[in-house]
């Protein structure tokens, strides 16, 4: 079967749809940003976003260009194991809300690093801020490259021009809008991408002969027998237990360490509103994710049943290809606008996180007496600077940074999530434990990746590349180091005297909503020992060979 290279035949409609969507994004950004009266409002949208808009925004910030392009490409390559990898991403916001989102909202945090600063001190927060900025840059970079490639395809211009123009447009609307603009734009972008993804997918399924076209996310069972006949291994699990288990530390706990997700919770009107947003997030995330699996399934089905071979380099364009085959040109144009919206919503959240980390967690701590107006100017500059750096790196990106977006999840899981989780729930966690955990586990995670020392890896192939094997070792290692070092140093009076341990403990009670301090709450030594013991078990299990393949 000869592979066909796909080209966009008529870009004019796509250009019109994308231009119109950008005009709307700029208008929403400008209009909603008028409500921001201070730099706090700029970063937290005045803590005034309602549940539905926030739920849409949460889902939108999380769903990137990958929803339209990367996921379907990887389903074509890996088939069902990749679906498993994606399903668990829906746990992010519910787990963040449960474990630390609402306590940090109660505290009035700007970013998770803000909490780390209050709980563990400045030096620990600088370590985590550096890791977080790196993670957010890696995340934004992938989206920036993706958007530039869509612009390149759409406008017929070269990659560099597409990147600079597209990047400048994105940075502009994020800086103008702040968190107000980003939040309402993200809500609009979620609606746009949901409609642009699901409704055309129904038409594709109908054209393919699927009878469940009216609800694409779940109703394609009638296409399964034909799929099994042509692609018998589509539903095979292929990998071993360790492969599937490592999704928990790498991506589930990893997502809990991503600052741009936590920051959405801090914009909520109230704690109840934050939890309402979590419910909406689960609904929107679930429906679009499920439709993504259907699109991947349809891509494989299309290849298998139509006799058309798609070039491997075009796997990420399967959503566009199916729309160009089965739907009218204006529908394809609408889908392209949806894909751009998906990329933009994620970059916006990444840039907001970078801006807040730089201005609130670095500059405001070094120069705490700057005026609000100066802080607003610094905010604009931090977002623009972050965007420019992402654009410059994307001009000629190192291969490592391009393939490592998923690897960045593991880094967040290793360096951020354990510190915040234990900081919120265990008073005995202290600054020595937190700094040691972030440094020891973070550096070990980098060392066992195939990018630095290819010979020192826990497992080879995909699990090493995307950080699954590294996270299986280093997330429990981070919990282990944090608990052991804290337990030991809390028993050395000279070290305890050097830190405001009592003040740190009181912070824990207050962010849980307790007005009266009780030393017994969140202060169990046994709990710390149990966490350490369980972590040690997983560290040993991760190092033991085998278990990755079926």
């Amino acid at each position: 079967m000869e592979e066909q290279k796909w080209v966009l035949e008529n870009p004019t409609l796509g250009i019109i749809f994308v231009a119109a969507s950008f005009i709307i994004f700029y208008f929403i950004g400008w209009y909603s940003a008028r409500a921001a009266k201070s730099s706090t409002d700029y970063w937290t949208a005045g803590r005034n976003i309602g549940a539905l808009a926030n739920g849409l925004g949460m889902a939108s910030s999380y769903m990137s260009l990958a929803t339209f392009m990367g996921v379907t490409a990887l389903i074509l390559k890996l088939k069902v194991p990749f679906v498993y990898m994606w399903i668990q991403f829906g746990l992010s916001i519910p787990l963040i809300t449960l474990w630390y989102g609402t306590p940090l909202r109660r505290m009035g945090a700007f970013t998770p690093a803000h909490f780390v600063r209050e709980r563990y001190g400045l030096s620990t927060s600088y370590v985590t801020v550096i890791f977080m900025i790196l993670i957010m840059l890696m995340y934004a970079l992938g989206q920036m490259i993706g958007v530039a490639k869509v612009f390149e395809m759409l406008f017929g211009i070269n990659y560099t021009v597409a990147l600079i123009c597209g990047g400048a447009l994105i940075v502009g609307y994020v800086a103008i809008g702040g968190m107000y603009g980003t939040s309402y734009n993200a809500a609009f972008q979620m609606v746009l991408m949901g409609v642009a993804f699901i409704i055309p997918l129904g038409a594709i399924m109908k054209a393919m002969g699927g009878t469940g076209w009216y609800f694409p996310p779940l109703l394609y069972a009638d296409m399964v027998p034909a799929m099994l006949e042509k692609v018998p291994d589509f539903f095979d699990m292929k990998y071993g237990f360790k492969w599937y288990f490592s999704l928990i530390p790498c991506f589930t706990i990893g997502a809990m360490g991503l600052p741009h997700l936590g920051m959405r919770i801090y914009t909520s009107k109230s704690l109840k509103s934050a939890r309402g947003a979590m419910v909406w997030f689960s609904f929107f995330c679930g429906i679009v994710f499920s439709a993504t699996y259907t699109m991947g399934f349809s891509g494989v089905f299309f290849q298998a049943t139509s006799g058309t071979a798609i070039a491997a380099s075009d796997y990420d364009k399967i959503t566009l290809i199916l729309n160009s085959v089965y739907n009218a040109p204006w529908v394809l144009a609408f889908v392209i606008a949806g894909a751009i919206a998906a990329g933009l919503s994620t970059i916006s959240a990444n840039l907001m996180a970078i801006g807040a980390l730089i201005s609130q967690d670095i500059i405001a701590t070094i120069r705490p007496n700057l005026s609000d107006k100066t802080m607003q100017v610094i905010g604009y500059s931090a977002i623009t600077g972050g965007g420019i750096i992402a654009i410059l790196i994307a001009l000629n990106p190192p291969t490592f940074l391009v393939v490592s977006i998923l690897w960045a999840f593991g880094l967040a899981g290793v360096t951020m999530a354990p510190l915040v989780i234990m900081g919120v729930w265990w008073k005995q966690a202290n600054r020595y434990g937190a700094s040691s955990a972030a440094l020891v586990a973070g550096l070990t995670y980098i060392a066992v990746s195939p990018y630095l020392f290819p010979n020192i890896t826990i497992a080879g192939g995909l699990p090493a590349k995307v950080g699954m094997s590294g996270a299986l070792l280093c997330v429990p290692l981070s919990f282990l180091v944090l608990t052991i070092v804290s337990l030991i140093t809390n028993r050395i009076p000279a070290l305890v005297a050097r830190i405001p341990h009592e003040q740190d403990k009181r912070l824990v009670d207050s962010i849980h909503g307790w007005k009266e301090y009780d030393d017994e709450r969140y202060n169990s030594t046994s709990a710390g020992i149990i966490v350490a013991a369980v972590s040690l078990f997983f560290v040993i299990w991760a190092i033991l060979p085998g278990g990755w393949t079926a």
């Binding site: 069902v80 679906v83 498993y84 399903i87 668990q88 829906g90 746990l91 519910p94 787990l95 449960l98 474990w99 609402t102 996310p217 779940l218 069972a221 009638d222 399964v224 539903f235 699990m237 990998y239 071993g240 237990f241 492969w243 599937y244 288990f245 999704l247 928990i248 589930t252 704690l271 109840k272 939890r275 309402g276 979590m278 419910v279 689960s282 609904f283 679930g286 429906i287 994710f289 499920s290 699996y293 729930w425 849980h512 909503g513 307790w514 007005k515 009266e516 009780d518 017994e520 709450r521």
Partner: protein, 88 residues
Amino acid sequence: MNSTYKKEIWYTLGFSVLLLMCGHSGLIFSAFPGLRDVMILGFPSQYLIPVGMGWIGLMVVVVVQAKLTNQLDDEIEAVNATSTTKGE
């Protein structure tokens, strides 16, 4: 130590387990291969259950989670109000 605090701990642990079960139900099929390839509503079990649990199952859990944790916040407020009154 008051019961509201204990409830907070149990809710957090309990909902974490439920959420992990929803998002990682594929693990069950990895651990027990005998459960695979049972056709449910036209799909193999190892596909439909993780996909369904990852959306519908998750929705059910988060709705209950939101309701109970909201109630818990009210209980913490009530405890705070009681202790303030005693203090006065």
